[in-house]
Subunit: 459 residues, 2 copies
Amino acid sequence: MSWPHYLQQHQPRFIQQLMDFLRIPSVSAEPALLPEVWRCAQWLQQRLVDAGLESVEILPAGEYPLVYAEWLHAEEGAPTILIYGHFDVQPAGDEALWIHPPFEPWIADGRLYGRGATDDKGNMLVPVLTIEALLRTQGRLPVNVKLLFEGQEEILSPDLPGFICQHKARLNCDLAVSADGWQWSESEADLRTGLRGLCALEIEVNGPRQELHSGSYGGALANPIHALASLIAGLHDENGQVAVPGFYQQVQAVNSAERQALAAIPFSESTFLARSGAPALSGESGYSTLERIGLRPTLEVNGITGGYDGPGVKTIIPARASAKITCRLVPNQQPEQIAHCVAEALRQRAPAGITLAVTVLPNAAHPYRMPLEHPGNQSASRVLRRLYGREPYYTKSGGSIAVLSLIEQELGVGTVVFGFGLPDEQFHSPNEFFRLEQFARGQMAWGQLLEELALTKWA
Amino acid sequence: MSWPHYLQQHQPRFIQQLMDFLRIPSVSAEPALLPEVWRCAQWLQQRLVDAGLESVEILPAGEYPLVYAEWLHAEEGAPTILIYGHFDVQPAGDEALWIHPPFEPWIADGRLYGRGATDDKGNMLVPVLTIEALLRTQGRLPVNVKLLFEGQEEILSPDLPGFICQHKARLNCDLAVSADGWQWSESEADLRTGLRGLCALEIEVNGPRQELHSGSYGGALANPIHALASLIAGLHDENGQVAVPGFYQQVQAVNSAERQALAAIPFSESTFLARSGAPALSGESGYSTLERIGLRPTLEVNGITGGYDGPGVKTIIPARASAKITCRLVPNQQPEQIAHCVAEALRQRAPAGITLAVTVLPNAAHPYRMPLEHPGNQSASRVLRRLYGREPYYTKSGGSIAVLSLIEQELGVGTVVFGFGLPDEQFHSPNEFFRLEQFARGQMAWGQLLEELALTKWA
């Protein structure tokens, strides 16, 4: 039996297994769910063993598990490919917004729904299934593979730098391929040659020791919510630029080649807007939507809380208010440095009558670039061209995958971004889903990619 | 036995009964606790019957109960006094900040702790106990009394206007006395001749249909938290004034007599600050702390929420952000009109890329003034002078009691504010308490007040 035939025959089982995978609420951001992240690692370990992989191990990175596996019996001279993905997922958010519970996956209209369906459980299972098909039908793989699946990507992999540094020798490879990635649409491929970096901060504003009656104290003490609101309002100027000294200092101006490359993509702002459900587009003056997302850095407040949030009215001055901030970064911004600039700007602007605490969080990712000319990208491009019958788009992603720059720094190799999610699949949102057609197509693509990489000349 | 002796003898039982009263979590702001508000009304009904009151009834006002009782057998020519209080309480807030659970009252150092201890269950029980003592020892009261205890004061009595209007005849009286009130300190009395009014609004800012990945959308859509923060930041100017057109239009300038009256009070800003636990005083330029609280209107954001509030990082653009606002008002601001001004200012400043919904809430109170020369205040003043051995302070309260202006409008009589809570008793905050000494002193004071009012000339 050919491996594509094997894949086709086993789709129903693979779908059931992905649903089992999705039932485990491996939310890395919620400490209470840490045991579920470990349970998920155990499920994955067994799945990798079943696929025929070897040396399958759960390894700790901080409090979180990683799962490692390998198969290193390819022909002499074949390259070694490090395959990356993650099995932790975003928090479900407001469960009331989900059609069904987020960890009880369901299928409708050829889509498999559930938290993690596309980001990244569905996508990371794809190469495992391909490897199983290759090993079961051919008894071998065209290349050596090392698989590294982490359980802390959604919290920006705070323990991954230490882990990779510590396991350099074991992770040694010729190329990495990330199964965390996206395509453009059902009929158009997308090879991402860059991702944004990220840094994260928390602001806490403290006022009175505890919440106070707004009649007895209102007007005579600073209100922490007012203070926080004015700090946040000051973080952007009227042109939508981040109003933090030093924020843009290392940012390269967008050049005309980049502009042209993005302008060549048949991107529909109205489709993008409709998908978002927002009333209008917005952002930094002088840039298109694709430029704002791919080429420009941003600062977003991801959450804010303070005072009374129950029904009706509570006439208080709150004791505190807090907010969470993340910045998306572009070359050559350094996460630590940018976080420091933001923290410094906030501290300098702290109004009187409150105390301000700004914490730079360990979650960080460096911006990443992978030249199109890289033999890994060239191989991926050929596979995508064959599979889609047309040239892929070459884009920059607005997202961040911390591991990419780590692999480059520590292992000295580039990473091909080779996932099969589509941008409308509600990752990080309620009712996340993965198209079952993309799930199957991804398995085919990975098989072809491993074959292509075996034929590529490696230094 | 004299009535003061009766009161003395029965303190232990009264304290136990107050603790029973406090065990009922009659939180009017929480719809789920509405049955507890009704259970509390039933407890109170029984207690009023036990005190010897007549026509004791639970009457509905909207979804909330009121408890009415009367005793109308005083000598001919004696005035009829309407006694007001409320048995609903503030939400407990963060229970972790309470030494013991908020609805499991405890006594320490002569203080009875629990939500509602001072505001207002302890204070409203005081005249009931006094009436019991008078009826048991003398078989009669010096005046006719009508008691009206409501269960929705902490949500600003949305159904009270309709209720009072509907029951005008039954509530007809010569004077009202509110058992919801305060004294200055353990050794200094305080007769409040004014309270601030109040209006309430909610702001909701909506952006994307649901929360979105900040990598895929960040920088290209307006963030509802940023929009809300800039709206809130715009509500005050650099002098701490409310930056809303029309907000101060009806406000009378503070006159020198008012200034002098407040300046004569030995108010310690440092004690006030220490009690608040805030790092510094703050507020409208050009006014003292007492003026800011008593004579000037304010706008406070009581709560804000939006986006991710869990542990760690969640890289999203939130779908919405919302805030709760209340304004404290002074003569001659109209709650409806001020709420309208604030809503209008917010709507005109709504940034692009989001939709804004501002809702004026039904919770409102008119500012209230009761001249010191009023015979009711003169009687109260005499009682306080006798009890404290010195002249009371005559102050303006920063708080709001919606019923006061309603009684004036609908029943045509003024209200003496005659409560015995002290300003440090953490009302609306965790670990609210009531001094047992004030509890007993209040009972004595009410007995003397009823006797004084019988001697007062009424038109």
